[in-house]
């Protein structure tokens, strides 16, 4: 974390766009919502982090923690393909994107032995889900 949540909020107020959107903090925030819950000024800090991630992506900025952005891409890709998250497929796509192929391989094997993974993806309303993605994109383009 290169900026504390307080510093992110200050930087937003000062209009320091690059400092916020090119920070590691916006990608390392786990959205645990503790800051939002406890802020005495009722600033929705977790939502600000979301907004920063959305803007950074929209502006085509290189995410400072690329594997987190790759994780989100892999999850949403899986959703468009199957309508549901196919965990094995999404993990595989993430491993290929980040080229960290052997990290946690032993954990994967132990989970495999315990029958944790589902091998065959479940398909559910794939066309309707893709329609939602398309319509959202269209609505957002019309706005900007």
């Amino acid at each position: 974390m290169d900026l504390t949540p307080t510093q992110v909020i200050h930087a937003v107020r000062l209009g320091l766009r690059d400092l916020v959107l090119d920070s590691k903090t916006i990608w390392i925030c786990a959205s645990c919502e503790t800051c939002t819950t406890r802020c005495p000024q009722e600033v929705d800090i977790a939502r600000v982090m979301d907004a920063a991630r959305i803007l950074a992506r929209r502006e085509g900025r290189r995410p400072r923690i690329p594997e987190v952005a790759a994780f989100h891409r892999s999850v949403l890709e899986s959703l468009r393909m199957f309508g549901r998250l196919y965990e094995l497929g999404a993990i595989g796509a993430l491993k290929l994107r980040t080229m960290r192929l052997t990290e946690d391989l032993d954990l994967g094997l132990r989970m495999f032995k315990k029958g944790k993974f589902r091998f065959i993806p479940a398909f559910a309303n794939v066309l309707a889900t893709n329609r939602i993605f398309r319509r959202v994109k269209k609505a957002e383009r019309a706005r900007t």
């Binding site: 594997e67 944790k116 309303n125 319509r135």
Partner: protein
């Protein structure tokens, strides 16, 4: 009692013990979960980090399915799905333009009338009103559990409206009704690192260590959870912690069984351990069975 049931992706995969034990408990308490037909992913953490509108639309699509099936309530055990549904309902309620926009995106009517309920809320309320349809048949004199609620059930409170956001008690109360002794501790609602298990495992190990060390210091021999991601992190990272030197009490010192609260209730109600998925945990759950009679 019948209600709509949304398991979500994890409960059909890495968290299938949660699905199995929830169904087992429902059967024994006379509850009839009706799985939402054709349910899709709620978007989880990746949708809201990518597009606000997408995150609301993906959750609302499933809430609309619940409406179509004629249910007023949907029970959602996964803390992440629960949080996404609550967020969508709140967002549509508080933003006047959002309802029409979401209706257009879904391409069908949606009145935003469904109430999202967590099984903890459902069962705790039934307990308070003396409507739990079964009493424990097994005693668990040796069990000392700490209840781990995690982040997304309790926060942000104005959206989830779940129990107390700093020191919730509903799981403690509920397990107490089934004869499970629970303890006070300090990490009930701290974060386990969530999805960073796949991208930054070192962060998750650090957070899991703090949680488990506090659980041990409080005298616990079981951690009870209500979220598939919390379960995955707490269960799977203990081997890493042991490889990294354990907790000072010798090698292999981290061996804390992590059970879904539904598994503990199932055991108290006399369900077979296999039907509750106790064999598919990474940390051995057999010691818990030895604490029962």
């Amino acid at each position: 009692m019948r209600f709509a049931y949304y398991p979500g992706c994890s409960l059909h995969s890495t968290g299938r013990e949660y699905d199995a034990s929830f169904r087992e408990v429902c059967a024994r308490l006379g509850l009839e979960p009706d799985e939402v037909e054709g349910w899709t992913c709620c978007g989880a953490s990746s949708a809201h980090a990518t597009s606000r509108l997408l995150s609301v639309a993906l959750a609302a699509d499933n809430l609309a399915r619940v409406e179509t099936a004629g249910h007023k309530d949907v029970v959602v055990p996964c803390a992440s799905c629960f949080s996404r549904f609550k967020d969508a309902t709140h967002e549509i309620e508080s933003d006047p333009g959002m309802k029409a926009e979401i209706g257009g995106i879904l391409g069908r009517p949606f009145s935003n009338s469904v109430k999202t309920i967590h099984p903890l809320e459902l069962l705790d309320k039934m307990g308070e009103e003396g409507r739990l349809g079964a009493a424990p048949v097994k005693e668990m004199p040796g069990v000392r559990a700490v209840c781990y609620y995690g982040c997304l059930l309790t926060r942000p409170p104005k959206v989830t409206q779940f129990d107390d956001c700093e020191y919730p008690m509903s799981m403690d109360r509920l397990l107490g009704r089934f004869g499970v002794r629970t303890l006070d501790w300090s990490y009930k609602t701290d974060c386990c690192g969530a999805g960073f298990g796949l991208t930054r495992p070192a962060i998750v190990c650090k957070l899991v260590k703090k949680i488990l060390d506090n659980a041990s210091a409080a005298g616990a021999n079981v951690v009870a959870v209500a979220c598939p991601l919390c379960h995955a992190n707490l269960d799977s990272r203990q081997a890493d912690l042991n490889r990294a030197g354990g907790n000072g009490a010798g090698p292999g010192a981290y061996k804390m069984p992590v059970l879904y609260f539904t598994q503990l209730i199932g055991l108290a109600l006399g369900a077979a351990p296999e039907s509750l998925g106790l064999g598919s945990h990474l940390v051995e759950t057999a010691p818990v069975l030895g604490m029962m009679r």
